[in-house]
């Protein structure tokens, strides 16, 4: 098992996922429920930051940075400007006649999609596992032993006096050097996918400027048209 998939399945990553997803869902619920529009916009900022955290958990670091820059930096500021330029900020979020039908539609949508997503047999990519399981357990055990003795060495022994170490310690050190070499080897021959997701930015740049270059240029034209349109709409006659 390579290093990145070990990190992804660790306990801390799972805790981070649950914290981030619960905070995103709660703050996006607050966006549609709080009566004070300004506070709703601040909860929207919190939801955007949490979604950036989910992108980081999904190994899309560039997209997380783009999310922070564009959504938190630009779109939230535009929405807050729009709130401040209009009246009735503190009591401006009443529902219309469709409150109960809308909640029913949203609930049905959520239930149907959850059912479909749990039922479908997705083609999950296989995680590379070049070493057998027994070897894994051995290596993990020796690795923890190694770190314990390593710390002891660093704190209590001077490297100059390393010739006075006990034979047991020397044996442990020999084991650890063997395990470390094996670890480096297993990192070296990890699959191509893990290599892609360890450094996505060059691949994204290559894709944007080679395969998707037409869409890239069209999006720039779209942004220009939106900018001109917004200026034309907002101009004092």
């Amino acid at each position: 098992m390579s290093l990145s998939s070990t990190i992804e399945s660790s306990v801390i990553t799972n805790i981070a996922f649950w914290v981030v997803s619960i905070s995103v869902i709660v703050s996006s619920f607050a966006v549609v429920q709080i009566r004070d529009l300004f506070r709703a916009a601040l909860f929207l900022v919190l939801a955007f930051i949490g979604i950036a955290g989910m992108f980081i958990l999904l190994r899309a670091e560039f997209l997380a940075v783009v999310q922070i820059l564009i959504y938190v930096g630009a779109i939230s500021v535009l929405i807050i400007f729009a709130i401040l330029m209009t009246r009735d900020v503190s009591d401006g979020n009443p529902p219309n006649r469709l409150k109960i039908p809308a909640s029913i539609v949203g609930l049905i949508f959520f239930l149907v999609f959850t059912f479909v997503m749990v039922q479908v047999d997705w083609n999950i990519q296989p995680h590379p596992d070049p070493l057998p399981d027994t070897y894994q357990e051995d290596s993990v055990e020796v690795y923890t032993k190694f770190s314990y003795f390593h710390v002891c060495f660093w704190f209590f022994c001077d490297p100059k006096h390393s010739d006075s170490e006990s034979p047991a310690d020397r044996e442990v050190q020999d084991d650890t050097s063997y395990v470390l070499d094996e670890k480096l080897d297993s990192d070296r021959d990890q699959s191509g996918l893990d290599k892609i997701f360890t450094d996505t930015i060059p691949s994204i740049a290559e894709l944007l400027l080679r395969d998707f270059v037409l869409a890239f240029e069209l999006v720039s034209i779209l942004l220009l048209a939106a900018m001109i349109g917004a200026l034309t709409l907002i101009r004092e006659k």
Binding site: S9, S21, V24, I25, S28, V31, V32, L37, A40, L44, A47, I51, M54, F55, L57, L58, R59, A60, L63, Q67, I70, Y71, I75, L78, I79, F81, A82, I83, M85, T86, G92, N93, P94, P95, N96, L98, P101, A102, V105, G106, F110, T114, N123, I124, Q125, G192, L193, I204, E206, L207, L208, D211, F212, A215, L222, A226, G229, A230, L233, I234
Partner: protein
């Protein structure tokens, strides 16, 4: 933490955004709910591109291309959302100048 967790979170955010879009009178809340729905779609696209096996759809072509297509789609969705929010805020401010309201139930000249 696997694909289904991310997809369920994405569906929850999309459902909340759908509820806010349909049921609110203030047009700024409607815009914020639309942003929530776009973000939910982004999460789903990036989760698919992270977890699904790309060698099944890239027959003979580059594996990198099919493994990162979801992130490219999310980038384009972010750009379109930025353009949409700029135009939306401009329209809101224009309507507020002429009609003195931001409630979508009050802007109904086209019905009469």
């Amino acid at each position: 933490m696997n694909l289904e967790n991310f997809l369920i979170v994405s569906a929850a955010i999309f459902a909340i955004g759908l509820y806010g879009t349909i049921s609110k009178r203030n047009v700024i809340t409607v815009l914020m709910s639309i942003e929530l729905m776009l973000n939910a779609v982004n999460i789903a696209a990036v989760a698919f591109s992270r977890y699904l096996d790309p060698s099944l759809i890239s027959q003979g072509t580059d594996v990198t291309r099919s493994a990162l297509t979801g992130q490219i789609f999310s980038l384009f969705i972010v750009t379109v959302a930025a353009a949409e929010i700029a135009l939306g805020v401009a329209i809101i401010i224009t309507v507020y100048r002429s009609r003195e309201t931001v409630f979508i139930t009050d802007v109904n000249q086209m019905r009469h």
